[in-house]
Symmetry: C2
Subunit: 286 residues, 2 copies
């Protein structure tokens, strides 16, 4: 799968969904900018396309970074990418279905929102569809408040529990646990964030798995803007802002030390600006 002409219907359908979700997310977040506090103009997304450099000269796809710096969203990235080609031999060994044939196709969306008001939780969502000789979906969504509010956490989890329950009896149990395991920061002996879901290698029925992945995105659209509206006008103290900047330090530590996507991308020549869009606009370690 190294030629764009060979992209099949499933790959096209997944890619079209991620682009459509990107448009919905950007529109919803720009609407929050219009409603939000602040004297300056509401933020707007700036989209920057990039192409995947391919050493062999074969086109390898690319992506679009979407970045907004506003008055509600201090920094939010919504990136889509669709890349294809051949894995490096050493890496191919670790990827299901690429052991003998290193061809791959991957399409996905990644969202990280760092908020201006420390009472508004940060959020992360990422979903993707991968194709080797096998094909699977993966992704998740997790809430990252600097100042956790039990009601917000409960609402976020209830929304994702309902989404999981609609698609698989064991999904919530498995994917919420996977999220807790994945986002644990051993050196701090604490979690990044208060939970959500994390899933990977979801193989089998393409239509059913795409539908679940679509609902993971739609659930974020349903639940997150409501949490933003609830808190974006909350007054906050200098101490609360400092707590937010320190929490972002933990967020950056997790992404740079442990996150598989980040470290793999950095060490194998991915698009650095797109990968590191997840890093906070401002962070403190003191």
């Amino acid at each position: 799968m190294t030629d764009a002409d060979m992209i099949d219907d499933e790959q096209l359908a997944a890619e079209a969904w991620f682009r459509s979700l990107r448009d919905s997310l950007c529109a919803a977040f720009e609407a929050l900018e219009d409603e939000g506090p602040g004297d300056g103009p509401p933020g707007r997304f700036v989209r920057t396309p990039w192409e995947r450099p391919d050493p062999s000269g074969v086109p390898g796809g690319g992506g679009v970074m979407g970045l907004m710096k506003g008055r509600v969203f201090e920094k939010v990235g919504v990136n889509t990418s669709t890349v294809f080609g051949t894995f490096a031999p050493e890496f191919a060994k670790s990827i299901p279905g690429a052991e003998d044939d290193p061809s791959f196709f991957a399409t996905g969306i990644s969202l990280v929102a760092h908020m201006a008001n420390p009472h508004v939780p940060a959020v992360h969502m990422n979903t993707r569809f991968l194709t080797t000789t096998r094909r699977w979906f993966g992704g998740g969504a997790d809430l990252n408040p600097a100042l956790p509010v039990n009601a917000d956490t409960a609402e976020f989890k209830a929304a994702y529990r309902a989404t999981c329950d609609a698609h698989g009896a064991d999904y919530w149990n498995r994917y919420s646990k996977w999220c807790d395991e994945y986002f644990f920061v051993p050196h701090r002996n604490r979690h990044r964030g208060v939970g959500g879901i994390f899933y990977d290698r979801l193989e089998g029925d393409f239509a059913a798995n795409l539908a679940f992945t679509q609902d993971v995105g739609k659930t974020l659209l349903d639940v997150f803007p409501e949490l933003v509206r609830r808190h974006m006008y909350d007054p906050f103290s200098e101490e609360e802002r400092i707590a937010q900047l320190r929490y972002r330090g933990l967020y950056a530590e997790f992404n740079l030390v442990y996150d598989r996507g980040t470290t793999f991308g950095l060490k194998t020549g991915g698009n650095v600006d797109a990968i590191l869009m997840s890093l906070p606009p401002l962070a403190r370690w003191d």
Copy 2:
């Protein structure tokens, strides 16, 4: 080597030097706080001792974190540690002289200074003495200006070149090159810092190697305070402060993604506060 009573004369001499250097550095930096700009009181170091947790119940040493937040030094850490015990079997394989006998002793000093004024360069210095069935020194010093000034870089390098030349004909060539290689950040295609020296596994004549390691520390005491005095009253713009905070983002990326000491320490249960004292007080990614 798992008992403090068994520490020998070389180990004691190295440890005494690192503690003495720590005292000299703290005194020199506090003097700069007294001379520096700002209305607030001059900063003073706060020292916090820590003990190495040892699963087997045998005392494993510990260290002292020294942290100052001042008006010249926005955040500076000067840490000493002396730890001993037994390497984990998997790790022992990668350490010279520990392949068959995993006993070790390690003593050292680590300094990272993040400065308030963006025209004052940040600096890093670290020297250490390790003992397994072999024994060696390692360390280095490197200048990390957000806004490089050619004259400062030249002065810093000339000082370390003179120190190297006094101890070994090939030291400057080897150790300055090693520094450039070690502090390259592949994903940014640039270096952290403008250079200095980096050395490791300096075995053989203990007295000569200790003398070199002492001069690496003394050179920092000679050259760095002069650079601080030269720039600590420089006026600076908001843009220059932002450039400094962005440069610190690169600094944090290097330490969290690539630095061997940081990632090893985090993943093997070292003292987290001491390890991460290197992270900047405030950093930007935007």
